[in-house]
Amino acid sequence: MTHDDPKKAELGVLVAAMVEGVLSATQRDRLVELLRDYDEAKRFYQRYLELHAMLEWEAGAAASQSEPADSLDDLLLVEHSAEAFNPFEPAIDLQQARATDPNRVTRHDMLAAGSYLLRHTLTPKVIASLVTAAAVLLGMVLTVVLISGTEDDATIVEDPGQTPAPIVVERPIEAPQAVATLTAEHDAVWDRRPGQDLYAGQRFTLAQGFAEITTLRGAVAILEAPATIELTHSPNAIRLHAGKLVGVCETDTSIGFLVRTPHTDVIDLGTRFGVLVDIEQGTLAEVFEGEVSVGKVGHAGQGQSSTSLTAGQSIALDRLGNRVPPDQVAVNPFGGLSQALAGINEVSGQALLLASPQPYIESEDWPKGLLCVFEDRLSPLNLQDDVTVTIQRPGHYNFDLFEQESNWSGVVPAQTLVRSYVVLLGPSHDRDNLRHKASIRFDGEVLGVIGNPRDHDSLQEALGPRSVGLFTPKAVSFWPDGGLEADIVTLSDDRQGLDLDFRTGSRGYDMIRVLVQAKQP
């Protein structure tokens, strides 16, 4: 939008109509369109409204009496062109004007008067009593203000379709009500910061990355960008307008956590689940663990009008709430996020260590959701110390992750810029098929693979901040409980791929770390 752009003139007319209180519905839509499309339009709008507000404020300080309205006749007789319009008097001396106008009351005059009153009349005790009085009087004065307000019913542009808007009376909101906290984020692009309280009525769009929100009742919602959410007055609910959310409810108080989408309600019954909203297509809900109730808005958890889903089940509803055939539903839409969550016992503050999986899982016959790859939170990083790895050259290697080192090991030296990935390999619980295979491609040279717990510890230290790692000490349950057969990892000849052939019959998760050469920024 340039200075001479006709849109700018149009914008001016629309904003003027707004401040005069005569903006029609059609004009409002057009104004919104312009403001949405142009930052310059937003700036103009802000300055114009700021000026309008200042004029309202300044008007109270102007002590001079206005002249009779008919003296303005000449002003309106002349049809000014925009360029020729010049309301300023020629050669006026502002300093002189200020000095010679005895009625002019400036803002500083007002502040000085106010300060004087404050200095001489408002002791702390008086202030306290006045605060009480102010609170009592606020309602009364507000009523007076509303009753005495000017009814501006002028219509410059007729819009017969415009009807008075009904006022919806709801319970008054006296103060911001914190209903959730932003507990963690990763690579997030939005205007929030970790630790911030989130309030009822706030709506956010996460443009990039991940964010973890914990409700007052302890339900954890992990958002993956792009996503738009809104907090409600409930301490255990979130509106998901668009995007992807994974909910984790592991406390008694969080059971009943509600995710409301434009099409559907999803109520947690003690579980881990995912909800995906496509504003055009509808809503998809999938359960990873436990059970949820899904129904049209306002109907979840209500007997026949809702559907119960258990682990491994999913349901897709279109915009009208009708069920979408399974063959039309995206496969594994929640990606590795849900997979990793399935293996993490302690979620809050940890889940956001997971990043969007960059390595490409080329092929797998792993049971759905049981293989995932994540980059460590602060990766890439310069190693602060040497790190022992168990694979550093192409070939096949037997892994006994729990007890022994592999048959070959090496060292990635300190000061190497590395990307650190975690590969989680889940148990299949399939007695007939105890081994599974997968191939993973990375976007750089694999410097080494770590399977031994001691080397994991040394990597943690070498990476620097303790928080860089994925797991807390409580995560030991992820370690395998031993196995009768070896886990085999093969580093490809070009050093950018790993073939995994693992025994998956054990109860726990296996985990290996992969260090990849990072490109210099």
Binding site: L51, A69, D70, L76, L118, L130, A134, V141, T150, I156
Partner: protein, 193 residues
Amino acid sequence: MPIDPFLGRLLQPPPLGSAVSEPLGQSDAFVVQITTCQSRLYAYILTLTGDREQAREVLQETNLVIWRKAEDFEPGTNFIAWVFQIARFQVMAHRQKIARDRLVFDDELLTGITDIFDENDPYDDRQEALSDCIHAITPNHRNLLNIRYRDGLSVKEIAQQLSKSPNAVAKVLHRTRLALMKCIEQKLSGGGA
């Protein structure tokens, strides 16, 4: 100054028989900060609501919350940023209470407009510049502003008094505002009116 409702209400004596609470810890400096930010706060809220009556209602609610949360404010931090945050929450809460078709902006656009604001913007300088610019316009234009703003007449009422079309009145008001905006910018950039 009539549109300084909070200070005006503060200075009224408490009603007879009303309870007097313990001192809340507000310092005189805090009171001054609240009173001096009222114009800016109103401008901020008006920009977010786009509606004068809504803005006034939200301003009242915001002032009340500022008082209640006074002890949360950390002296030395950005007071304007703090009150803007409270105001933004109040605007959002207010939006929950009113009918959707009374809202000018959707939530996404509201966020975009909020982002335009800069708490460190020299608002006071702009206000001072406006005072000068108002003085520099012709008496007729100044009178029109007085009738519109100080007397609170709508463009239709002004038009009726003058037997002119509301469009003509609105057009002159709009151009006067544009001229004042230009004047303010020139003054802030070191030029004259």
